[in-house]
Symmetry: C3
Subunit: 137 residues, 3 copies
């Protein structure tokens, strides 16, 4: 059994930014030498997420508008009494999910035709990290 | 260590349809010969999801009404400028989740008394696929 | 390859209660002797969830207010025709997620600086269970 771990770093220019990371995950899987197994891809910060969906700018825009509607910024969140101002980022990342498990088959990510892995930043402009844990044979 | 992969195919009659797949997942786990481990069950299309919840028609109806409220169809989504009309399906599946990891203990799915695995279709009436990746000993 | 399984039991005093379980998960991982791998932490009941986020009482309050807004209790849910009154709990747990996979590196939970694992109860005051499945080397 093989277990391989690596990390991806992000420091986005915008506060909110979605970044496709399928290729980086695939590169880590290749380095792991795992040909059959899984790759856990998990945000290590609690105001960012990982999700799988379409690589289409219009839809990414729709996601961001929709998340702002469901979990608005600027409300009088109790979390803000600590001096923070990012409660909405915690909520938004919860809707998107903070991790995915990507299956690996025949030495490649076993993704459907339109599946792409994304990093979703909701409180960026600082260094943040994602762990990738590959396991299999 | 054993790793076993199989796929489930769906072609629903309705655009939106939730289908219980616990038995199909259990059958794949049995075929894998894994007695202690996990089964990743993951939608390979980005307008369908996988979730665990109650096998009760009333609740399934409630889920569908609720998702329509949180992520309505028919809005002027930017994704629709590509010619697509299913942006809401992408959003709805995000709320439900696109994958689950089912624990396997003593050669069976280690589920609680009411846990059932479901396939949630939001843009059906065409062939779509789910991957099941079983790992363990 | 090592596979180790244990269960956590909860019987909350309140109907809704979020409980930090990072230490209990770490103790199970230690007992497993796995030093590199993953721990699946999964609610076995369909009205409770598992999530990773901040250990800050204000934010926990914000989460609960927000979930009540997105999935209100007391509506005329069809699920209630079965005699149940907890449809909202099923919806709320769906937003929070019902499971997480925690990476294990160097014999410890490989969590970011603010990541904490929580049990989220939405229909408590009775015995409920969480499975922890540890796999790795």
């Amino acid at each position: 059994m093989l277990v391989h771990t690596d990390y991806l770093w992000f420091n986005t220019k915008q506060k909110t930014e979605f970044i496709r990371i399928t290729d980086q995950v695939a590169a880590i899987v290749k380095a792991s030498a795992v040909t059959d197994g899984i790759a856990l891809v998990s945000a290590m910060h609690i105001t960012s997420g990982i999700y799988v969906n379409d690589w289409e700018d219009g839809l990414i825009h729709d996601f961001q508008i929709w998340l702002e509607k469901l979990a608005p910024s600027g409300l009088d969140y109790r979390h803000h009494q600590t001096g923070e101002d990012n409660a909405d980022a915690h909520l938004k990342r919860t809707i998107m999910g903070h991790q995915v498990v990507v299956p690996i088959t025949a030495a490649a990510l076993d993704l459907g035709p339109w599946e792409q892995v994304f990093y979703a930043e909701f409180d960026g402009q600082r260094k943040k990290r994602v762990v990738v844990k590959v396991m299999g044979i």
